[in-house]
């Protein structure tokens, strides 16, 4: 195995970045995304019309990479494809740590010119041992040092989740929606056509990265399946690896060819590979986010018995369906629990079988929390799921000021003393922005939350299966 960590470290943790070919037409997106970069930023542009705009951003411009009087660790290239070989040549001469080609129109275009150009830059990079990321990608996101690909990405505090994506869209969306869900990135990379560095190289890198505890991957195809297989098998033993395979249907495999020129491989084989390596299979961005959130914030369990605490009768029925369909048991509670419920629980319009329907106990926070404590103490229950219907809880806050926030505080306090995993489900109905705000508050207190019963059940099923599978190793 080559020393991929040493090889890629400069590109992933650069102290100087050069942007080649940024322009007004793109809103100077690359230079702007580096506004908070904790290092030196240079521009390379020869178009006279752009020089004023670049100067206005306070970035020093050069007419060639070779003119920059400094070492350059990472290069962002946004030039027309025909110019790419020349820039790659300059990167080699300049001995940069890595170069990312945002430029597209290579093999994925399925044109003779595109294929020829990709072959050319690939050959040049391989020969010179240049770390070429892409082409046709958005490259590295390292929030800790402010290396981003869009200005709406956060910077400053990084997290412990690494993301490797063949698509720039998925890389960007995952980082943005992940933030709302309490998922912060250690390092992420979008790598497009994988002409030189492939999924396996990045996996190896993040596998060794001390800041990365969980790895998510969006893959359309891999170059060397055997190498990917053995690398994944080894790393998934140490860190959870989630794999979202694009082109997971026979029809979808056609699309991967025109997106990143990938040979997708048969879907059944990918399913087998993921299982065999002990990785976690997810099928879309929502599952990726939900499952990682559950890994980060729900206490690990191999238990299959859920205690369901709903706030309305209708929810108490469908939350049970959702968790039962996902393979969970919804057992009756112990006699002791029922005796305790009988001592305070208002059963007019409510019930406490399992599921609980706690509606009549609102707005008494102490009774809601007491219900959670009973489930926590009940030996029949492994996981507790709490329904927080946003519309009703917001409505109570109209006449009891701060009710919803107080409830979140009380749940967070309960969680501190509880030994069992807790999941919250926030059905938003029409109140989507209120739901997002509440979910952000919950995850800030370490409580994972999900926007539907099905998504919560599915995420829990995936992490329980994962913990069972690692327990078998």
């Amino acid at each position: 195995m080559k020393d991929i960590v040493g090889q890629l470290d400069r590109a992933f943790n650069p102290r100087s970045v050069a942007v080649v070919g940024d322009k007004m037409e793109m809103g100077y997106m690359w230079l702007r995304s580096l506004a908070n970069f904790q290092g030196r930023v240079y521009s390379v542009q020869i178009d006279e019309k752009e020089l004023q705009g670049i100067a206005a951003l306070g970035v020093k411009n050069y007419s060639s990479l070779l003119d920059i009087p400094d070492e350059v660790d990472y290069v962002i290239v946004a030039v027309p494809r025909a110019v790419a070989p020349k820039i790659v040549q300059h990167c080699i001469q300049k001995q940069v740590g890595g170069v990312m080609l945002f430029t597209s129109g290579f093999a994925e275009s399925n044109t003779n010119e595109g294929i020829r150009l990709q072959e050319k830059i690939t050959e040049m990079a391989r020969e010179a041992n240049l770390n070429l990321i892409g082409p046709n990608c958005v490259g590295i996101f390292n929030p800790k040092i402010g290396l981003r690909h869009t200005t709406d990405q956060y910077w400053g505090d990084g997290g412990n989740v690494g993301f490797i994506s063949q698509s720039g869209t998925h890389a960007t969306f995952f980082t943005l929606v992940g933030e709302v869900n309490g998922i912060r990135i250690s390092k992420s990379v979008s790598y497009g056509n994988a002409a030189v560095l492939d999924a396996t190289d990045y996996l190896e890198y993040l596998g060794e990265d001390k800041d990365t505890n969980i790895i998510g991957m969006y893959i359309e195809g891999v170059e060397n399946g055997r190498r990917f297989f053995s690398c994944l098998r080894e790393i998934a033993r140490r860190k959870p690896v989630l794999i979202w395979k694009g082109g997971g249907t026979d029809e979808g495999t056609r699309a991967t060819a025109s997106h990143t020129a990938s040979l997708a491989g048969p879907p059944l084989l990918w399913d087998a590979l993921i299982k065999q390596c002990g990785a976690i299979k997810v099928d879309n961005l929502d599952e990726m986010v939900d499952t990682i959130q559950a890994l980060l914030y729900a206490k690990p369990t191999t238990g299959n018995r859920v205690g369901l605490a709903a706030m309305t009768g209708g929810h108490s029925v469908v939350i049970t369906d959702a968790f039962a369909r996902a393979g969970f048991e919804v057992p009756l509670l112990t006699e002791r629990s029922y005796r305790e419920f009988a001592s305070f629980f208002n059963t007019i319009g409510s019930s406490y079988q399992n599921p609980l329907d706690m509606s009549s106990n609102l707005p008494h926070l102490d009774r809601i929390i007491r219900c959670l404590d009973i489930l926590n103490d009940d030996e029949m229950i492994d996981v507790i799921v709490l329904d927080l219907p946003v519309v009703f809880l917001t409505r109570i806050s109209w006449h009891i000021s701060g009710f919803f926030d107080d409830l979140i505080d009380a749940i967070a306090e309960y969680k501190e003393r509880s030994g069992k995993p807790l999941l919250a489900i926030l059905i938003s109905a029409h109140a989507e922005s209120e739901a997002i705000e509440a979910r952000k508050k919950l995850v800030a207190r370490g409580i994972p939350s999900f926007p539907s019963f099905e998504r919560g059940a599915n995420a829990l099923a995936k992490v329980v299966a994962y913990y069972k599978s690692t327990a078998l190793q």
């Binding site: 891999v222 087998a272 065999q276």
Partner: protein
């Protein structure tokens, strides 16, 4: 080693497809339980072999040119005595001469007639990206119609073998559904591991098909097998 001799002989004849006899000899060498098999080049040899092996026996044509032995009258089942075996030998030879006169005949194989049981299959094919891949499924109509099969990439671990058997939908049948004889799962796991090890160590094997395997309560037996070599 028999295996290397068989492969060398096939190479010399410029063929990649091994006969059932050759395939079973190779499987036997790597520790996979197959039916006893003897080659007869004459009516007399067929009779002699059947007496050694014990009745009832099965006779099958052995020819590298014949893929579907039954279709050309190349298989005779449940032969219970010397006379039946002798006649079956002659019938097979004349049927082949009639249906496929160009086929090169190596002889006729004599094998004990195995007691029927739940049928499973193990196959290996190569994926351009992932290399050798093993397939497991129930045999017969279930595998063809329901595609009730599981895959694993070679090399398999013990756990892979365990899971790939249990993840097929028909697994309850192997456990002995409604009083049927249960299959010995541990034996099937071992067979998968042996096949995995074998194809992993022999890159010149392009495809392998063991179909059917009879899965008994305390053993499993490869009834038919086919090995194809890389060109």
């Amino acid at each position: 080693m028999v295996m290397n001799e068989i492969i060398a002989a096939a190479r010399k004849e410029d063929r990649t497809s091994l006969t059932e006899l050759e395939s079973k000899q190779i499987l036997k060498e790597v520790g996979i339980n197959t039916t006893e098999i003897e080659l007869a080049r004459s009516r007399e040899e067929a009779v002699a072999h059947s007496q050694e092996l014990g009745f009832p026996v099965v006779l099958k044509i052995v020819s590298p040119d014949i893929l579907h032995k039954t279709d050309v009258g190349g298989v005779k089942l449940s032969l219970n005595n010397k006379e039946d075996v002798g006649n079956a030998y002659d019938e097979i030879i004349s049927a082949i001469k009639k249906h496929q006169p160009s086929a090169k005949i190596q002889g006729v194989s004599v094998q004990p007639m195995a007691r029927p049981a739940t049928e499973v299959i193990i196959g290996m094919s190569k994926d351009p990206q992932f290399g050798p891949v093993l397939m497991f499924g129930l045999g017969g109509i279930l595998v063809e119609v329901l595609k009730d099969i599981s895959f694993r990439i070679v090399p398999l671990t013990m756990r892979d073998a365990n899971e790939m058997i249990r993840e097929i939908k028909g697994y309850p049948i192997l456990e002995g559904y409604r009083g049927q004889e249960p299959a010995n799962i541990a034996v099937l796991e071992q067979m998968l591991l042996k096949v995995s090890e074998f194809v992993d160590s022999k890159p010149e094997i392009k495809e392998l098909d063991i179909n059917p395997i009879f899965a008994y309560r305390d053993s499993a037996l490869a009834i038919d097998a086919r090995v194809i070599l890389e060109p």
